[in-house]
């Protein structure tokens, strides 16, 4: 009797697992999205998309902070047998790398019309939306304030500055952008001066922001959402938009980017998701949430703590060139981080 009961239980459990296993296969209508934007902020948007369209979303999340072999590497590893329909990149350089590696497919969304051309690929391989600005986070006690990324090399701040590891994320993007603007020689000189200034390398922008807020460093170059979070926590920090003078290079802007994947299993659902991500409504939600992203469509409310994109001097740079430069200078950056 006892044995029969056990066998029945095992069979029942096996059947339940089998049903659940086969239910886990994709069911139409479905869209598969790989997301590099923080899950805390991106998941509610995707849930709203499910509610509004009836299309089920299956997501793979990644985070910039973990730097793990996540979404981007999976896309590259899966290039011969794509599983994803859409990649929601948290910066456009990864999107550009996908275009260069023939993993992205062109799609010009009708909702891309209101987004400035500088934040879009001209052929529609990626489209930017909801951006971060690269700004200086400065401890409140610091006076006078730094005003430029070149302040890092000012002897006044020697040993008192911090920057996130330039091998990863938006810091790499910005260094590559500076190389594009200034040329290789000037770029290398800046990096050498940065090294000689005794700058502290932190694992992420979030760590840099925390170190400045704690008073361990005078200032650091971080993303605008890192600053907004600390402002909301009433930490003793201020925000400085760098290089806003007439002859200066402007503030580097890092939009999110939506990419349709070549050979996507559900391309139509993928296009609908991209339309949704590029809408004014999504930009508004991302601006008003703790993600504090700056809308790229005009007329959409910006986060209260940040300037709207129109009232900022923006660094004029071609993101495709930045992506190419980023790959070219990686061996140099690797040596730089290693102290060489």
């Amino acid at each position: 009797m006892k044995k029969t009961l056990w066998i029945s239980l095992v069979l029942l459990a096996g059947a339940a697992i089998a049903v659940w296993y086969f239910k886990s296969f994709p069911r139409a209508p479905t869209v598969v999205v790989y997301v590099s934007h923080d899950q805390v902020f991106s998941e509610p948007i995707l849930k709203d998309f499910e509610k509004d369209t009836g299309i089920s979303v299956r997501a793979v999340y990644d985070t910039e902070e973990t730097k793990s072999a996540g979404a981007m590497n999976r896309l590259i590893a899966e290039r011969n047998n794509p599983q994803a329909d859409v990649y929601w990149a948290n910066e456009p350089i990864r999107a550009e790398v996908l275009r260069q590696q023939h993993i992205a497919a062109p799609y010009v969304s009708p909702n891309a019309a209101g987004i400035p051309a500088i934040f879009r690929d001209p052929d529609g391989y990626w489209t930017g939306f909801a951006a971060r600005a690269r700004v200086l986070i400065v401890h409140s006690d610091i006076n006078p304030r730094p005003t430029s990324v070149l302040s890092y090399t000012d002897p006044r701040w020697r040993g008192r500055t911090v920057i996130a590891n330039p091998l990863f994320g938006t810091t790499t993007d910005q260094i590559a952008a500076l190389f594009v603007l200034w040329g290789d020689d000037h770029g290398r000189t800046f990096m050498q001066d940065l090294h000689d200034s005794g700058v502290k390398i932190s694992p992420s922008n979030g760590d840099s922001a925390d170190l400045v807020a704690r008073g361990a460093f005078a200032f650091g170059l971080v993303d605008s959402d890192d600053v907004v979070n600390r402002i909301k926590q009433h930490q003793p920090i201020d925000i400085v938009y760098p290089d806003q003078g007439v002859d200066e290079i402007g503030c580097f802007i890092v939009p999110n980017a939506a990419v349709l994947i070549a050979g996507a299993p559900h391309p139509e659902a993928g296009k609908k998701l991209i339309d949704y991500l590029l809408s004014k409504d999504t930009e508004r939600k991302l601006a008003l949430s703790n993600a504090a992203q700056i809308p790229l469509h005009s007329g959409v409310t910006s986060p209260a703590e940040l300037r709207p994109i129109e009232s900022m001097k923006v660094m004029s740079v071609n993101y495709a060139e930045v992506a190419a430069k980023l790959q070219a200078i990686q061996p140099f950056l690797k040596k730089w981080v290693g102290g060489g």
Partner: protein
């Protein structure tokens, strides 16, 4: 014949699950755009000096952690497994908790204890500043990984001191007191187990990425991570793994002869005999105090901080709203993974125990090798092999996660089963064989019933490791099918501390569920008997 066929099938299955993905990954690293190329290896060779420094730092960290874990873990294991110390089970569970939690969670919890904003900083700001500064670097990494991995030494010591033939100790007691018996008989007999534990701690520390990254201590595995995360270069990443594989193989090669030449001395011929127990006498309470304080400081304190951070209903409501599906998935994956691990481990362990096929040594080495590889490497290997249209039914479903569990954790059930079988007299099986009983019948009616308690322990260990897995899962989980540790990690970026703390507490509770159930069940069993 059926015995050899079954064991050969188990060995072949393990090779397909564990070895083939790595082989595919390494083979791919020799090809660029379909043409043979050594470019990735040339680049690695060119940056030799930098790699050497990083490897030196990795080895230094591993040595520190291994030394501390062994020096502290062995006495604790003897105290908990061999003496009449009060509350042994409770203390064992308490000291084992860190092993159940992903190491990065422990690192975060310790920062909450030591960093700015902690109660230490409000009581003694200067001390907090000093501790906080020291925490970020080699000392912090050593501390966190030591508290994470010391349970391995404790548990293996407990398991093996219980396997020592009591007659040898009784004979020793005729001429010496317990300290002398421990020093001259018990500890030398379990030396291979201690060495095995030390090797495991060394290799697990060597492959660890999350804690050194969080605490800003540059180590070699970060190099492979950099290749994956910053350069998107799979060949270079695979090439960067090779030095790590070489160090792992060297350590295993050194460990092998020592372990396998001495292990026979451990076998208990008096199966079912009574364990001898050390009576602590007047040392009972002082030692209880020392162990309790150790447990409170190294385990309870960071966990208490997590619980305090999560102590609101809204945090748990938010946690369940955001992660109930991940919790359920983790449970199902861990139950399936643990069951298959127990089955596969049983046959592989039997193969190693009986040395039925000449490949037993290869299987033993392969399982240990796979266990010590970083999870991301195993994951990328799995993608290399299984991500094809023809095998989408595996790659596109949770089956890929289960394969990852089987590859990464096969060593645990295999070695545990081998040890359990060591304690079952061979004569029982031989007698059944002489009576003409088939091998499966012998297993069903003799071996498995005698090994039942051990196999339940095997299942629990498999369950715990599958449930806490992060390295493999984060790389291969199918879209929409993340597990709880993955969800915690992805929510850690800008998630509220109370939400993260609540999810960590849920992970710990879910992990402890079967341990509690089995403790209750075995308690009832004992009363019934």
């Amino acid at each position: 014949m059926e015995k050899r066929l079954t064991l050969a099938a188990a060995a072949a299955l393990l090779a397909v699950i564990g070895f083939l993905p790595l082989l595919t990954m390494v083979t791919n690293s020799f090809f660029v755009d379909g043409l043979f190329s050594l470019k990735a290896y040339q680049a690695l060779w060119d940056s030799g000096r930098q790699q050497l420094v990083l490897m030196g730092q990795s080895v230094l960290l591993s040595l520190y952690v291994t030394f501390l874990a062994t020096v502290v873990g062995v006495p604790l294991g003897v105290l908990l497994g061999k003496t009449d110390l009060p509350f042994r089970l409770t203390l064992t569970v308490l000291l084992t908790l860190p092993l159940l939690i992903p190491p990065y969670v422990i690192a975060v919890a310790w920062f909450a204890v030591l960093g700015s904003g902690s109660w230490i900083s409000s009581l003694a700001p200067e001390t907090s500043k000093y501790l906080s500064t020291a925490y970020f670097g080699l000392y912090g990494c050593t501390g966190v990984l030591f508290t994470t991995f010391v349970p391995i030494v404790i548990l293996l010591t407990i398991a093996y001191v219980g396997a020592v033939n009591p007659r040898l100790e009784d004979a020793g007691r005729l001429v010496s007191r317990w300290p002398g018996v421990l020093r001259r008989i018990t500890l030398p007999l379990i030396a291979p187990a201690i060495l095995f534990a030390a090797v495991l701690v060394f290799l697990l520390t060597l492959g660890e990425v999350g804690v050194p990254t969080y605490l800003r201590y540059p180590v070699y595995p970060v190099e492979t991570l950099t290749q994956f995360a910053a350069f998107y270069n799979f060949s270079a990443a695979t090439a960067a793994v090779i030095p790590l594989l070489v160090v792992t193989l060297v350590v295993l090669a050194l460990e092998y002869p020592i372990l396998h030449n001495q292990v026979s001395e451990l076998r208990t011929v008096t199966f079912g005999g009574m364990r001898t127990q050390i009576k602590l006498g007047r040392w009972r309470l002082p030692l209880l105090g020392i162990v309790s304080v150790w447990g409170l400081v190294t385990v309870a304190l960071p966990l208490a901080v997590l619980i305090a951070q999560s102590s609101s209903l809204s945090a748990y409501a938010d946690a369940f709203a955001r992660a109930s599906d991940s919790i359920l998935r983790s449970l199902v994956f861990a139950i399936v993974g643990a069951s298959l691990l127990t089955l596969l481990g049983f046959f592989c362990g039997y193969l190693i125990h009986n040395r039925t096929l000449p490949v037993w040594r290869g299987i033993d080495a392969l399982t240990l090798f796979l266990f010590t590889l970083p999870g991301t490497v195993v994951g990328i290997g799995l993608i290399s092999l299984w991500n094809r249209p023809i095998s989408n039914f595996i790659y596109g479903t949770p089956a890929i996660i289960i394969l990852g569990y089987l590859a990464q954790y096969a060593v645990l059930p295999t070695r545990m089963t081998s040890t359990i079988l060591d304690r079952i007299p061979r004569s029982l099986e031989q007698a059944a064989q002489l009576c003409g009983t088939s091998w499966f019948t012998t297993l069903r009616h003799i071996v498995v019933p005698l090994a039942r308690r051990g196999l339940i322990a095997v299942w629990i260990i498999g369950y715990v490791f599958c449930l806490r897995d992060l390295g493999v899962s984060i790389v291969v989980y199918p879209p929409g099918s993340d597990t709880l540790p993955v969800r915690i990690l992805t929510l850690m970026a800008n998630g509220t501390p109370s939400l993260i703390a609540a999810l960590c507490v849920i992970l710990i509770v879910v992990t402890l569920l079967p341990v509690g159930a089995v403790a209750l069940w075995s308690g009832r069993d004992r009363i019934g008997a």
